[in-house]
């Protein structure tokens, strides 16, 4: 009997703590499979800061750092500068990257740090139980926007991929989603490209992945995927926002 599928060795056997229907599990696997396929084991360091993915050090089977809220790009900078031959990635949520960690992500991009950032955007603070994030859509109800996000009061949702594409130091920025099989495959391709760029010594790469949070959105996993498709993708269009490699 031949093996036609097996779990990547870059994930541990630890059971995920993620809620049913959450997309973190898919995104974890995509990252781990890419690291495996590029034969990067032995040379990978991951950084996961505060947020739903704070326990990622239990799941990714490589050297891992847990970082303070928002600070993963700075921690990754220290790692990459100290060990330039290693492959370094951060795995950050939208509350982390788009709110408390904006300075760190902008300046990591600005310096052209040779790291890959996986930015999981589910338009809400998941770990703390569903508060409004800078990425929360206008009208979206959360525990701190009970009447729906009011643009006049707290602004329109921030678009990080568009923003970071404008930073001269960034190299490759793409927004993906994991709401269906086709998009999952596209996401994996983008993640792989980002790590390949890092191996080539290119600059800062970020893959934004639109993701669901059925628990805090108050939907079933299937409804959540539909909500993402109907509400998030129109506001956060998928696609490549910057690719210096393709331009070169």
């Amino acid at each position: 009997m031949s093996v036609i599928f097996e779990k990547t060795s870059l994930l541990t056997d630890k059971q995920f703590h993620y809620c049913p229907g959450c997309n973190h599990g898919i995104i974890h696997r995509l990252v781990a499979e890419v690291l495996d396929e590029l034969k990067l084991d032995g040379n990978v360091v991951g950084v996961a800061p505060v947020g739903c993915s704070v326990f990622a050090y239990d799941y990714f089977n490589c050297d891992m750092f847990e970082a303070a809220h928002g600070r993963a790009p700075a921690v990754a900078t220290g790692i990459k500068r100290a060990k330039p031959d290693s492959v370094v990635f951060t795995y950050q949520g939208d509350g982390d990257l788009a709110s408390i960690g904006t300075a760190e992500i902008v300046h990591a991009a600005h310096r052209g740090e040779k790291i890959v950032t996986i930015f999981v955007n589910n338009a809400i603070y998941g770990m703390t139980g569903g508060q409004m994030a800078p990425t929360t859509l206008v009208g979206q109800k959360t525990t701190t926007s009970p009447n729906g996000r009011d643009e006049a009061w707290c602004g329109a949702p921030i678009k990080m991929s568009e923003m970071l594409a404008q930073v001269p130091g960034s190299y490759y920025i793409e927004r993906c989603a994991v709401n269906n099989n086709a998009n999952i495959l596209k996401t994996k391709k983008a993640i792989k490209k980002a790590f390949q760029y890092q191996l080539e010594g290119k600059g800062f790469c970020m893959i934004e992945v639109l993701s669901t949070c059925p628990t805090n959105w108050g939907y079933s996993p299937v409804e959540a995927l539909k909500w993402l498709e109907e509400n998030m993708i129109p506001y956060y269009p998928l696609g490549v926002y910057k690719d210096k490699g393709a331009a070169e």
């Binding site: 970082a67 600070r71 700075a74 220290g78 790692i79 500068r81 760190e104």
Partner: protein, 359 residues
């Protein structure tokens, strides 16, 4: 060996490089900017890395990342900048990463002044960030002493897996003194000596050697075990690492306590008081954490000692540790200025005379 006249900030930076530091992350702030300036030119010469961060918050997190790979890493800042670093320092302490942090203290609170001060004693010694942790904290009184401490600071940080803090001040950083520099240490990360560090691991390797640099222990039982472990380390450091200097204490009736730059003013006051026929002496903690409580107590308990005077360039912060040490056995008085005004020998002498006259 010949003495070289060097500015404090540059001498301390060079000493760090000679002690094996190859990574510096920092942000400009007066009165310590000469340290990053020096590092920016010197690090590339020794194959090291200088990186100017976007903030002190980022700089200390870069320290966290680089220290987690086992490298010798240093950062420097001054009071308001060190306040910004406190989050990262707490994480570094929690994750048990060795590193060296320099605080060139200036006046506070808030933006304060750019002149020397000792107002961050509490911050350095009593916490600063969240949680139960300590930093091995040295208060050098001269440039040479700062250099000498630097020669073993990284060793201590690695031995205890805890950050080392230099509680210096703007005068130490800005003045020039003749100094003797140690030889360059050839430091290389040894994964065997630092099994906790991220030095490269792949599936199939010893799972115990997979680096997990982390300060999160979500189960209360696990966090308690972790804290007990930290406290055991601190107990060991308290036992082994206390450093202090005694000056003319043998027959002293009045003991002056002071640290850092102020201790040099106090030392002059001791000499001048003795010329006036008043038997004064100086007790100077070099480690302010761990504070040499028992040794100060022993000095204060001597029969001839009438009272103690704590002198600081702050509102009386070390004073609390002096009082804890003396524990009510003798009268403890205080003289100092807040802000950046240094106490003078004249003021210290006048205060001792007041105490002598029972005022």
């Amino acid at each position: 060996m010949a003495l070289t006249l060097m500015k404090g900030s540059e001498a301390i930076a060079e000493a760090a490089i000679r002690a094996g530091a190859r990574f510096f992350f920092g942000y400009p702030i007066t009165p310590q900017t000469e340290i990053p300036e020096y590092m920016s030119a010197r690090m590339p010469e020794v194959g090291g890395c200088f990186l100017q961060a976007e903030s002190e918050v980022a700089a200390i997190n870069m320290v966290y990342g680089a220290a987690g790979t086992g490298a010798r890493v240093i950062t420097s800042s001054s009071s308001p900048g060190v306040s910004l670093k406190q989050e990262g320092i707490s994480y570094i302490a929690g994750a048990q990463l060795p590193c060296v942090i320099l605080n060139v203290m200036r006046g506070g609170p808030g933006l304060g002044s750019i002149q020397a001060s000792q107002g961050d004693y509490f911050q350095g010694v009593k916490g600063g960030g969240n949680g139960d942790y300590h930093l091995l904290t040295y208060a050098p009184a001269s440039i040479q002493e700062a250099i000498n401490i630097m020669t073993f600071a990284f060793d201590k940080a690695e031995q205890y897996r805890m950050p080392v803090l230099f509680l210096a001040d703007g005068i130490i950083a800005q003045m020039m003194e003749p100094v003797e520099m140690p030889e360059m240490v050839d430091y290389k990360v040894d994964p065997e000596k630092k099994p906790w560090a991220a030095t490269g691991w792949k599936p199939g390797d010893d799972p115990a050697k997979r680096a997990v640099i982390n300060s999160l222990f979500i189960n209360t039982e696990d966090l308690t075990v972790h804290n007990d472990h930290l406290q055991a380390i601190y107990a060991e450091a308290r036992k082994n690492e206390q450093m202090w200097e005694e000056y003319k204490l043998e027959d002293a009736e009045y003991i002056i306590t002071a640290f850092g730059t102020v201790s040099r003013i106090a030392r002059s006051a001791v000499d001048e008081l003795r010329e006036m026929g008043i038997k004064a002496g100086l007790f100077r903690p070099i480690t302010v954490w761990p504070f040499p409580y028992e040794h100060l107590k022993a000095a204060a308990d001597r029969e001839g000692v009438k009272a103690l005077l704590d002198v600081e360039a702050n509102e009386g912060q070390m004073l609390e540790d002096v009082k804890l040490a003396v524990n009510g056995a003798k009268h403890v008085d205080f003289f100092g200025h807040c802000g950046s005004l240094m106490p003078t020998t004249e003021e210290i002498k006048a205060k001792i005379l007041e105490m002598k006259e029972g005022k």
